[in-house]
């Protein structure tokens, strides 16, 4: 009989994996503590709600981006898709006077279609994700400009504005929406086929293919989902600003990717989770809010944000290294 080595108890392991996802949480909490000492305004309910509200856009799209990054991909087009679909929806509502919810639905479908296009380029040609989404980024942004001619489309009906400005009790509606999306995506990743295959594809695409997984199909779905989320974020932004513009979301993709990575999802794929990304988005929100509250000058804000990204990911990396020391040359 071959003696099997002592098996570590399952619960502890599961805790491990949970702790891994919550790694960024320590950072967030620390940051909040520092902030509440640094600024007396930080800890008020309305300010915290502000932070949450300001984190929703990055947060919502980060949920989808997390899945993309777990497959080993990346999506640079989310900012442009956000803008294009919000402009198109705004056009439908304001220029053509279509039903608000129909227009919103169509807008989200348009976002999904662009995501789908990303997915098809990546899986069918196949193009590297960076390039496919870089191309679509230009195309979508350009179309947004062509459609609007560069001018904002504004003054929405009240029902639409609710998307961005509504409150449920003291909590902004978009925040509720974001939390719902995170619950859904958490379940999606941990409990469904799509989620499991997302990890499998990122873990080893070739093995996934040889295990009979329709890698192309599942990847495409993930990009399409993210496109839809980007469009949804576009709606929320337009509703909040009461205007849709073709310049919205410029540079947004980098914020989203930063949030995901700060949250502990690895760009090399196969590992990570959405909870971390939510925390990552909140970290970015708290930092921006804090810099404003502390009246830090515009020039230094950029420097500090850059440093925060570096520090956050460094801490995450070092924490993980504690577990597994890799030799390097």
């Amino acid at each position: 009989m071959i003696k099997s080595s002592p098996r570590k108890l399952a619960p502890q392991r599961r805790l491990d994996s949970f702790r891994k996802e919550l790694g960024a949480l320590t950072g967030l909490i620390l940051l909040c503590i520092v902030m509440s000492f640094a600024s007396p305004y930080f800890l008020s309910l309305t300010n915290l709600m502000n932070v949450l509200r300001q984190s929703t856009l990055i947060g919502i799209v980060a949920a989808g981006m997390t899945m993309i990054i777990i497959t080993g991909g990346i999506d640079l087009s989310v900012g442009s898709v956000l803008s294009l679909s919000s402009c198109l929806t705004a056009g439908m509502i304001i220029w053509y006077g279509w039903n608000v919810w129909l227009s919103v639905a169509l807008g989200i479908i348009i976002g999904a279609v662009f995501g789908l296009l990303n997915g098809l380029l990546i899986t069918q040609i196949p193009l590297p994700p960076f390039i496919a989404t870089l191309g679509i980024m230009g195309v979508a942004r350009g179309l947004a400009f062509v459609y609007t001619g560069g001018a904002p489309i504004y003054t929405f009906p009240k029902s639409f504005r609710y998307l961005g400005q509504g409150m449920i009790g003291p909590v902004p509606f978009p925040v509720i929406l974001m939390l719902i999306i995170y619950v859904l995506f958490y379940i999606l990743l941990k409990r469904t086929k799509l989620g499991r295959y997302t990890y499998a594809i990122g873990g080893n695409e070739e093995a996934a293919i040889l295990s009979g997984i329709q890698v192309g199909k599942f990847k495409t779905v993930v990009y399409a989902l993210t496109g839809a989320l980007a469009a949804l974020a576009g709606m929320i932004l337009a509703a909040r600003l009461d205007a849709a513009t073709s310049v919205a979301g410029d540079g947004f993709e980098l914020d989203v990717i930063a949030a995901v990575v700060i949250g502990g999802t690895s760009l090399s794929g196969g590992q990570g989770g959405v909870i971390g990304s939510l925390i990552g988005a909140l970290i970015m929100g708290v930092v921006r809010n804090g810099l404003n509250l502390l009246l830090v000058s515009s020039h230094w804000q950029r420097v500090i944000l850059g440093v925060i990204i570096l520090v956050a990911v460094t801490v995450d990396v070092l924490r993980k290294r504690g577990v597994f020391v890799k030799s390097r040359g």
Binding site: S39, A151, P152, Y154, V247, R288, L295, S297
Partner: protein, 285 residues
């Protein structure tokens, strides 16, 4: 047929759409061909310089340009001079440090900033009956426009030391950032009275933020874009400085026409500016 190239910093804001519209209107009247070009973003002056060079290749009859960066465009203007193509600058009255420009068409941004400053002082005075209050400024991407507009504004406010400039924060010309920053500022400075945005979009964002937080503050922007004027009309924005971009576009082409006709073209063509508020918005085109 006369070909004119009209090169803007970017077509990402209503402002240059309006200048283009004015220019097109006159060019069509004259039966001219107008090439409207612009780089993809307001920071990409490499592309803008490239566009001037490419238009020289096309051998257009005149170039009208609003430089992203007045220093950076000099080399290209010199090339146009060499090629014998007359150059007109619009939306700027600052002389280029080199190269020959036939005429500058624009409004004095510093003066505009001063007008906004005066409007702000008036508003605060009408609120408190004395010169006091707290003001926050939303800056655009650092550069000429921000410097001039904020500078003019500050020139006025420096004369009123009782009025406090409590913050000057970046919002990169963007409506969303204007909104986020103002939301945050309203936390730190709950008794903020007025936000001055260096552009309409940022001021509109600020106004939106105040509304969403149930605060009542004054908001002033610069540009006088149609949507901003509409906001003024609806009481959503307190005031904006109208700078009449459509007229600026018209004047630019007319100046070129005068030049070709051999008429005397003034070196500096100033376009009007006017503070638009609830009282006078109806009169603004």
């Amino acid at each position: 047929k006369i070909e004119v190239a009209m090169i803007s910093p970017a077509l990402t804001s209503t402002f240059y759409l309006a200048t283009n519209a004015g220019a097109t209107e006159v060019a069509e009247e004259l039966g001219w061909q107008l090439h409207k070009l612009a780089p993809d973003r307001e920071t990409n002056f490499m592309a803008q310089v490239g566009m001037v060079e490419d238009m020289i290749q096309r051998n257009v009859d005149a170039i009208a340009i609003c430089a992203i960066n007045d220093k950076a465009v000099v080399g290209a203007v010199e090339k146009a001079n060499e090629a014998g193509i007359p150059v007109f600058v619009f939306n700027s009255l600052t002389e280029l440090p080199g190269g020959e420009v036939v005429a500058y068409v624009g409004y004095d941004q510093r003066a505009g900033g001063r007008k906004c400053g005066l409007a702000a002082v008036e508003m605060l005075h009408s609120k408190y009956g004395e010169f006091k209050g707290k003001i926050a400024i939303l800056e655009g991407v650092p550069g000429y426009h921000t410097t001039e507009r904020k500078g003019g504004f500050m020139e006025v406010l420096e004369k009123f030391p009782e009025i406090e400039i409590v913050a000057s924060q970046p919002a990169d010309w963007e409506r969303e950032k204007g909104m986020n920053v103002t939301e945050n500022l309203l936390q730190a400075i709950p008794d903020l009275d007025l936000v001055f945005g260096c552009s309409d979009a940022m001021a509109q964002g600020a106004a939106q933020a105040a509304r969403s937080m149930g605060k009542d503050i004054f908001t002033i922007g610069i540009d006088g874009n149609p949507d901003a004027i509409e906001d003024v009309a609806n009481g959503r924005l307190t005031a904006t400085l109208a700078v009449f971009p459509v007229e600026m576009g018209r004047l630019t082409i007319r100046a070129i026409k005068d030049y070709f006709d051999g008429k005397d073209v003034p070196y500096m063509i100033k376009t009007p500016t006017e503070i638009v508020d609830l009282d006078n918005w109806e009169r603004i085109e």
